[in-house]
Symmetry: C2
Subunit: 135 residues, 2 copies
Amino acid sequence: MLKLTEQESLELLGSVTLGRVVFTQQALPAIRPVNHIVDEEAVIIRSHLGAAIVSQSAGRGGSVVAYEAENLDPVEHLGWSVIVTGTARLVTEPAAVTRYRTMLRPWVDREMDEVISIQVEMITGIRLVDGRPHD
Amino acid sequence: MLKLTEQESLELLGSVTLGRVVFTQQALPAIRPVNHIVDEEAVIIRSHLGAAIVSQSAGRGGSVVAYEAENLDPVEHLGWSVIVTGTARLVTEPAAVTRYRTMLRPWVDREMDEVISIQVEMITGIRLVDGRPHD
């Protein structure tokens, strides 16, 4: 197993469009697959769960979520995985919302979905090599 | 979008070997890709993070985690996703540990990994059809 640098991890994350956002909902761990783009140091997603992901109690400070993307071969045990921890905030600036909406297609069409920006605060990545992972 | 029954969801989960366990670590949302098998109403995984996933404070009661697996085409927007919520417990019975270890290959070889059983308490699944998801 190789540990990737932050820059390598961010580049790999930006090379795919599917990932999973991890948050807390009603005090339970929750996860949803979503599409994403990487815009500078932020992961941008759309979800109708915006209100759940960006908890109301967190207010303007946002709330901490995780985001994961990978390209793993479950048989050969090759590929990579990147995990982000960051602060999620609703994107409310109209021009930004419009721009991101055109770049992101939601998995489930709903009129009321929201655009969420996850500011990357920590990013780690690993790559499995030779099909024989080792530390 | 079609909602799957619990039985359909469990069968799809058992049809793949790669998923992601979602838990809380040091008060932050955390996620790790792992291999799994489905054994009756439980999802069985191996991880060196057993102590983190099954929090010590939870004791014998176990701790609540989420588990997600999917087979999604990010371009065509076809496929399925299954999400489990359940109670995670360390498997300690020696014969069960040995049996599960032979059935599960860890993503990263470590001597100190543990076998974790996630008893399924809630399972939901969706299937995206026709590449044009709708509710």
